[in-house]
């Protein structure tokens, strides 16, 4: 569960990215954050992962006030949060397999077990065939799928994604959203920020619409009876 209470984030220089924001995301929800560029979507995601800290208010993740975490405790929070970034943030001096291996190396998982997990994650995103490839040789969509594999290999309880479909064409983007939906169905809490509101129209989700750091609306889209089911 992720709870924002009266969260304000002011950057140095006075820019107010979020203004007294309050909402709750339940465990197992899939939330799509929408809004124009500069609405504060990225800041919101950064607050969840303690990449930034709130100026005022509190951010609770599984009951933990992440704004008050000590420096030493932050890594352990992040091990439970998978992150996918717009630009991928892949390591281009390592192959596909090694990129996905990194989160497991960080927690010190024995190699054999880790290798199995890496292959399972690559299989889920359809990149098992390319485990020896260098990321630079992958297409944009494949790079983004690789980033997702890296984010889920550690089986995090929460997955946050910032504009994951940003540079992809519509088909690829729809595929990616279905992938997120599949992870959500096995219990992962997912928060996706996007400025393409139509991206989430085919999956069951709740849309939080932000504008200039203020929550505008929260719309539940239940597609249980929809043709896309």
């Amino acid at each position: 569960m992720i709870t924002f209470s009266q969260v304000t984030k002011r950057y140095r220089g006075g820019t107010e990215a979020l203004k007294a924001l309050s909402f709750t995301i339940e465990t197992g929800e899939l939330v799509v954050l929408t809004g124009p560029s500069g609405a504060g979507k990225t800041t919101l995601l950064k607050l969840i992962a303690a990449i930034e800290r709130p100026t005022q208010g509190s951010v609770l993740v599984h009951g933990q006030n992440v704004g008050k975490l000590t420096r030493g405790a932050v890594p352990y929070l992040r091990r439970n949060i998978g992150m996918v970034f717009q630009e991928g943030r892949l390591l281009f001096d390592r192959n596909v397999f090694e990129n996905v291996m990194l989160p497991l190396a960080i927690i010190g998982m024995p190699y054999r077990e880790a290798a199995k997990r890496v292959r399972a994650a690559l299989d889920k995103v359809g990149l098992l065939e390319k485990e020896k490839a260098q990321p630079i040789t992958l297409s944009g969509g494949e790079q983004q799928r690789l980033a997702i594999a890296r984010a889920i290999v550690n089986r995090p309880a929460i997955l946050i994604a910032d504009e994951p479909t940003g540079n992809l064409d519509a088909d690829y983007a729809a595929q990616l959203m279905e992938m997120f939906s599949a992870f959500n169905q096995v219990g992962v809490t997912i928060v996706i920020a996007t400025h393409h509101p139509h991206m989430a129209q085919h999956i069951k989700s709740r849309e939080l619409h932000l504008k200039a750091g203020v929550l505008q609306s929260s719309i539940q889209k239940d597609l249980a009876t929809d043709a896309h089911g």
Binding site: P75, L77, R79, I106, I107, M109, Y111
Partner: protein, 303 residues
């Protein structure tokens, strides 16, 4: 526990891999460290060898009484009696001329002194150790003994040894000073090479932190790199000094041979060498720790 060992092994493997990936840079860094270390080490060995020579002579306040060639055994007993009665004397010993020649040959590494000299040129002698080391009192005592019957020369022995010791102390101070300075330089070299490595791997560090890596995890490969660099640099310094001494010893042996002496400079003892390796490794580690921490706590702290 097992995972920690695995992580350390992975960090060590990564380190070696990175060092081998840039062989020229690695070689140059190791040379810089090695040469910087070889200077104080070389000076230390020079001082140490001089000290070894000096140790054969006592630093105690000694007066040698060389007897006249024609001094009778009665005269000798007479002097003994005076020495026994003297209040300023700690102890004395009689050195017969034959025994003195043997000791001299041994001490100086002369293979056969009489072969060179023809006959024993040394007189009988008393070696007197005074109670006080005060130079004035010693000089007073020397003058008194010079006047005794049967004494050819009374000689104060301690002066040159004390001067040499003073110079050796100066040399040792120099070693520490030079060692300290170059040790600092070594840590600085370590710091700088690791800093460059850290900067080159900035993306990797940032991504690792986002994936939940602790500071310890991120630092680990750099600490290995710094330590390994220090150790190998220390080894290089050790080898440089050993090679230099082997070369110098060729000449020393030649010169010693010309004087009919057996003398060679001693290289770095094993325990001293290991100490150097330990210290250079420690300095490398320190430099790496500072460089990695500067990055982690500095500009990237917000991530």
């Amino acid at each position: 526990m097992r995972s920690l060992i695995a992580q350390h092994r992975a960090a060590a493997a990564l380190t070696v891999q990175r060092m081998l990936a840039a062989p020229l840079a690695t070689l140059l860094t190791l040379s810089v460290i090695g040469i910087a270390l070889s200077l104080p080490l070389g000076l230390y060995l020079m001082v140490d060898n001089l000290g070894r020579v000096a140790a054969n002579t006592q630093g105690q306040p000694e007066i040698s009484l060389f007897l006249k060639d024609n001094a009778s055994s009665a005269t000798q007993r007479d002097i003994e009696a005076k020495l026994d009665a003297h209040a300023g004397i700690n102890e004395y010993r009689f050195v017969a001329r034959d025994a003195a020649l043997k000791t001299l040959s041994k001490n100086m590494g002369l293979s056969d002194a009489t072969a060179v000299l023809g006959k024993n040129p040394l007189p009988d002698a008393f070696v007197v150790v005074a109670k006080l080391a005060d130079p004035d009192a010693l000089e007073q005592m020397r003058k008194e003994m010079q006047a005794w019957n049967g004494v050819q020369t009374a000689k104060l022995d301690s002066d040159w040894a004390r001067r040499l010791n003073a110079f050796l102390r100066l040399g040792r101070d120099g070693v520490w000073l030079l060692g300290g300075l170059l040790g600092f330089a070594l840590a600085a070299v370590g710091f700088n090479t690791i800093r460059l490595q850290v900067l080159a791997k900035r993306d990797e560090i940032e991504v690792s932190r986002l994936l939940g890596a602790t500071d310890a995890f991120i630092r680990r490969p750099y600490l290995y790199l710094g330590t390994l660099q220090g150790l190998l640099g220390g080894l290089t310094g050790w080898l440089i000094v050993m090679a230099a001494f082997a070369l110098i010893n060729l000449r020393v042996a030649e010169i010693a041979d010309l004087y009919g002496m057996n003398f060679l400079l001693e290289g770095l003892a094993l325990h001293a060498g290991l100490l150097v390796l330990f210290l250079s490794g420690l300095l490398g580690w320190t430099g790496a720790y500072l460089a990695a921490n500067q990055h982690l706590r500095g500009g990237a702290a917000a991530i």
